[in-house]
Amino acid sequence: MNLYEYMGKEIFRKYGIPVPDGYVIENVGELKKFEYPVAIKSQILSGKRGKAGGIKFAKNAEDLKTFSEQLLNSTINNLTVKKLLIERMLNIKKELYLSITLDRATKQPVIILSADGGMEIESVPEENIHKIYIDPMVGYSDYIAREALSYLPVENKKQFSSLLESLYKAFVGEDALLTEINPLVIDAENNIVAGDSKVIIDDNALYRHKDYMITDPDKTDLENEAASKSFTFIEMDGDIGVIANGAGLTMATMDALTLHKLKPRNFLDLGGTDNIEIVEDAFSFVMRARPKLIFVNIFGGVTKADTVANGIVSSKKKFNIKQQIVVRLSGVHEEEGQKILLDSGIKAFNNMTDAVKELSKIQGVE
């Protein structure tokens, strides 16, 4: 789960990482008396927010109100601005980059640092990016900060060491996949402050962090609702509603559609279940995404083919589905399942290639 800047900064504050004074508003009525100048920062999950006009600066109350009105509910990088973070403006002397993320190759947390902060880390030259790996069985130790400091033009070394240790504690303690500070600001008084935050929390660990977790700001409402029912459901641009079982098979389904120039409307992994109601729930989400055509791709195992067949038939009735449903049923109880479908007028294929060809034919993209 991607967190908004202000949520990440709340975490930073909890771990003792300095952040600028500030507060969040959802409407201009919530604006407070505050020391000027201030930064007005649109809370959207998007890079290059500043370039797109999502960050403005105000020298007085009048400007603050005007800009806040402009930004609230505006659309920036295709996202609607629902919240603003109003922050004391920093007197920036230097901008650095600092993050901790999980390195899948070594299975270790890795600290990434650069003296070139304030821009996307991807655009920083390789030789200016430094990585320090942390062995999770050993954890953080002070020498790591000393090494980090050898790459950065920081005078207040103690403050940096304690910030880095706190960031590692936050990374571990909050089950983060990423804790990023960009820019890490050195201000005119040589104090180090987190100018921005980008924090991603492991979805699988959200049960340990119920305090501040509500809905994933990075997901659509429908996706969030599906997540609450434990479906992995992702909305996409196309027109073919997809239900498959298993993440790998679902992804392979998407791939097969794409290779045939067919466009999925969604990704939905039914998971390992043997329950008609769950099939119906899956259909309810897919139907609400309004697909033109539906593709159900099942390889029966734990999820038995006949159960899915029954779920398809009952969903068709329950949701009054008019769209054509193309089904591929294979694996455990394949024959029973195909018979059930045939009885209610749905032809089921037993291999994926044939089913995808049928979809191509219907869509006329052969």
């Binding site: 899948r104 660990a205 790998g248």
Partner: protein, 284 residues
């Protein structure tokens, strides 16, 4: 035979649960030597005719070699540590949705202790004609010489069935697990398959994310003479979008379907465009 066989003495942590009960039953039917179940507070009961104990330590007189872990995600780390600290040298985690920080700790502890860790979020391991630890359907296997390693579950069954239906048989089939960090990776398993005399050819079913496919491809290029067939899912995944627990965060530069397919091709691996194509690419 690779990793397990008929003699491997298996315990099931979480055996009294719905999944544990069902799959331990299937395992026994397959021929797996399930010696005990472990479920705290359930000592004295039996599941599928097998005694259940409260703690792993209580099963040690039965000399277990391997443990299957089928407990809810919040308890997986504890259960896996219990198995490893009690000296069990093969630990397989069925459970999905395990927090990645937990898995990271288990990964390093397993390496330290010399434990063969499979998963989490894995369908397990099956050695055709010998034993199965996990949840792969029993009836898709035929004893043969094709080894399969995959990061998927259902897709693996699909491919194994296609291989079997095409007249081939399998030696060892392993599901590595769909999470960003798993105990056993392609680069680990490829060495084992390469050294296994029963295995004559190898199928790798990879996925976007991470660089384990690339590492395995490098090893294959340098060391593996057996024919290898590959398939990569996720070619259609939009960059940066995460496809559930498929571990599909696209990483900068590496980890894309393109980079993996290229690595495979560079290593002389035949790459299938669709899962259905795999049997055709196998060596007759």
């Amino acid at each position: 035979m690779v990793i397990i066989n008929k003699e491997t003495r298996v315990i099931v942590q979480g055996m009294t649960g719905h999944q544990g009960t069902f799959h331990s039953g299937e395992m026994i039917k397959f021929g797996t030597n399930v010696v005990a179940g472990v479920s705290p507070g359930k000592a004295g009961t039996k599941v599928n005719g097998v005694d259940v104990y409260n703690n792993v330590i209580d099963t040690l007189p039965l000399k277990p070699d391997a443990s299957m872990i089928s407990v809810p995600a919040p308890f997986v780390k504890d259960a896996a540590l219990e198995a490893m600290e009690n000296g069990i040298k093969l630990v397989y985690i069925l459970t999905e949705h395990v927090p990645v920080h937990d898995t990271m700790e288990l990964y390093h502890e397993a390496r330290r202790k010399g434990v063969f860790l499979i998963g989490p979020n894995s369908p397990g391991i099956t050695v055709a004609g010998q034993a199965k630890i996990g949840i792969m359907p029993n009836n898709i296997f035929r004893v043969g010489d094709v080894a399969v390693a995959s990061r998927s579950g259902t897709l693996t069954y699909e491919i194994v069935k296609a291989v079997t239906d095409a007249g081939y048989g399998e030696s060892t089939v392993i599901g590595l697990g769909g999470d960003p960090i798993v105990g056993t990776t392609f680069s680990d398993i490829i060495r084992i398959f390469n050294d296994d005399p029963q295995t004559k050819q190898i199928v790798l079913v990879g996925e976007i994310g991470g660089n384990e496919e690339e590492k395995a491809a490098q090893y294959i290029k340098e060391h593996v003479k057996k024919p290898v067939t590959g398939y990569i899912t996720g070619i259609s995944a939009p960059p940066g979008k995460k496809m559930g627990h498929a571990g599909a965060i696209i990483e900068k530069g590496t980890g894309t379907a393109e980079s993996k397919i290229k690595a495979f091709k560079d290593a002389g691996i035949k790459v299938a465009s669709y899962p259905d194509d795999i049997p055709e690419l196998l060596k007759k």
